[in-house]
Each structure stands twice: as C-alpha cells, then as structure tokens.
Symmetry: C2
Subunit: 194 residues, 2 copies
Amino acid sequence: MNESTSPAPARRSDATRRAILEAARERFAADGYERATIRAIAHQAKIDPSMVMRYYGNKEGLFAAAVAIDLKLPDAASLPRGEEGRTLVTHFLDQWERNEVLTALLRVGATNDAGAERMRGIFSDQLLPLARRVCPDPEQAPARAALVSAQLLGLALTRYVLRFPPAVHLHPEEITAWLAPTVQHYLTAPHPGP
Amino acid sequence: MNESTSPAPARRSDATRRAILEAARERFAADGYERATIRAIAHQAKIDPSMVMRYYGNKEGLFAAAVAIDLKLPDAASLPRGEEGRTLVTHFLDQWERNEVLTALLRVGATNDAGAERMRGIFSDQLLPLARRVCPDPEQAPARAALVSAQLLGLALTRYVLRFPPAVHLHPEEITAWLAPTVQHYLTAPHPGP
DNA sequence: AGCATAGGCCAACAAGTGTTGACCTCGGGG
DNA sequence: CCCCGAGGTCAACACTTGTTGGCCTATGCT
C-alpha cells in the first residue's frame, strides 16, 4: 500500500511470509526454541515445512526474522524530568501486552544463546543509552540500567513466562504504582554505597 | 556415615547416583531441559545412558530428582524487624552463588511446564507464607510476594541466565545495597494505590 | 568355593528433528 | 496462445532423541 517508501518489491508470497512469521512468534513464545518445531509452525501457518526453509533459510534465520523488532523506547530527552520511571514502566507493560515477540524473546533467551545475545543487544542498544542520559553519573549508567532491566524483566518473567498467579492477576495500574518509583530510584537516586 | 537416622539402605551405587545428579544439574543449568540430553549427562557423569533410566525411570524423574531442594528461607519470626528485605536478598544471593540448582530451575522453568510448576510451588510454599507474616495486610500478601519474586528472579535472570555484563559484574554487596530497600518496601510499605 | 544379585555396558528400536531436492500448478507477460 | 518462473506439495535423507532388553562382571553372603 506504500510502494514508494518501502524498497520491498511486494512479492505475491507476502501473505504466506507473514503467516509464517506470525505462527513462528506464537510457537516460540509458547514453547521456546527447541520445542517450537518447524513442522508445528508450518502446520499452524497452514503451509508446508519446506516453505519455511525456502523463505528463511533455516531455523535460526526464521527466529532472527521473527524477533527482529524495535522496542521504540521514548527518547531520553523527551521524558518529563522525574517521570522517567513511570514512563518506562508503562511503555514496557504496553509493549509486552500488545505483542508476543517479547515473550518469545525472553523464553528463547533462557535456553538459546542467539536469543540471549539478542536480549543483550536490546539492553545495550536501547536501555543503556537512555540510562546514560538520565542518571547523574554516566559511569554508573551500566549498573543502573542493569538494575532497571532486572526489575522489568523480572516482572515479565513471573507474569508472562512462569505465570505466578498473583503476578498474572496484578492490574497494570497497580504494577506501575509499585514499580515506577523503584525504577526511578534505580535511575536517579544517589548510590547507596556498599 | 549416619545409618541410624537416614532410612536409606546405603546402596553400593550411591556414588554413581550422586555423579548422575551432579552432572544433570550442571547440564540442566547450562542448557535447559531439551538440550540437556540424557546422553550428554551420562557422558559427563562417565557412565552409560541406560544407568540414568535404571536409577531415575525417565528424564522427567531425573529432572525432578535433580531439582528437589529446599530454599531454607529463614523463618519469618526470626527476622529482625525492618531487616527482612536485607536478609532475604543476601540469603537469595548466597543460595544462588552456592549451587547451580536454582539456575537450572530458572532456565528449565522458562520452557518446560514441569519446571515452571516447580517454581510456582517454591513461590507459594516458601515466599508466600513469609510475606503473609511480614506484610501489614495479609490479604495483600500474594501481590507483595509476587513483587518481591519479580525483583529477585529478575536479578537472577539478568545475572545468571541472560548474563547481561553489567549485571554479572555487580558486587554482591552492591546488589544488596540496591535491592534490600526495594524488597523491604514491597513487603511492608503502605499500598501506593493505583 | 559357589552362586544369586546388583551394577554396569552395548546395541538397537521407534519416533521426531532440521533440511533437501524432485516434482506439480497456476498466473501473467511475450 | 504458449511458456516460464514463482508458489507450493510430497517424500525422503541423515541424524538425534528417549528408552529398552540382553548380556557381561564382580561383589558379598552362605
């Protein structure tokens, strides 16, 4: 619908490609890397397993294509001062509820090194720069970003992967009310000292 | 060395059984459930794969035996009032650094439902009761315990599973200095309200 | 000493995996 | 109209997995 801006030649098989990617995300998110077999993905996409190979080369390539996504973190400069924690938490929750790519990434990252590497990349490409701009001493940025990611990924883990019942039943507003001050603290509070 | 108190008949194969369990924990912790093959475990334990089946029935049984462990959380009554957060964090860090069972459990829990169920059991059997005794309104205990587990497991995830470099390089004392107030807050602070 | 038995190894099975290549089948441009 | 290539299916490959049963070995009891 927008041929001029996108360099893609708009092949006739685009619908199938999308179906494969969608099924792949769902299976990876539900089963992890090993148990999400190409046959199961192909079955769910209602096509033949060999099509997956034709379009994505091999399973690694399929996974890479399925989790190629941008977090679109808000720019650090545009954040209201003092509200960085709240903004981050709501943004994360929103992304996580909307699409299952992040759940797939987290589940795969726990057992597959390519997945873990992808998570490390997201961390250092997107969260770290933000921390560098927000937190007082840039030298402390990596540690502070690590603390923030531990808090946020910990919530995702217990809520979307391990499915602890109380974590699942928490309302998004309640999560924000609890986590936002913590994240804000990790980003901007003075170092507590050992 | 203590035959009277232990009901185990002290079989001659106990050394082998221990070797299998040790290798199993190491492989599960490093590779997760699927990629930790019985053959790999047997090879590391320097015995035949069929011995694993003989002693533990099947792979599920081996996993169950390998992760049958008690967190040994300190009793809520014995905690110094106001220091529950610090005690919990140091205790968790200590357990996690000491043996790899917890890493195995976390890694497997991300993809295997038996593993996730085991984690949910530990949560509700060990952390929840503690929260019920420590936090002001017992009705809020599940939510508060969930927040605490999100913070603690998030740290374990980024440090021992995903291995974010800044999380790996954090010193235990620094982790405690940052996390103890957070955990204490989640346990005892008044509800922030949505 | 003799032997039952627990400890251990070897080879094989059936099932499921990623991956490949040969083969159909249309749809649109010459 | 024909045909050619992209889209799609089928069957098979080589390999790995969990699991099994038969066989050997040596330990400890009588």
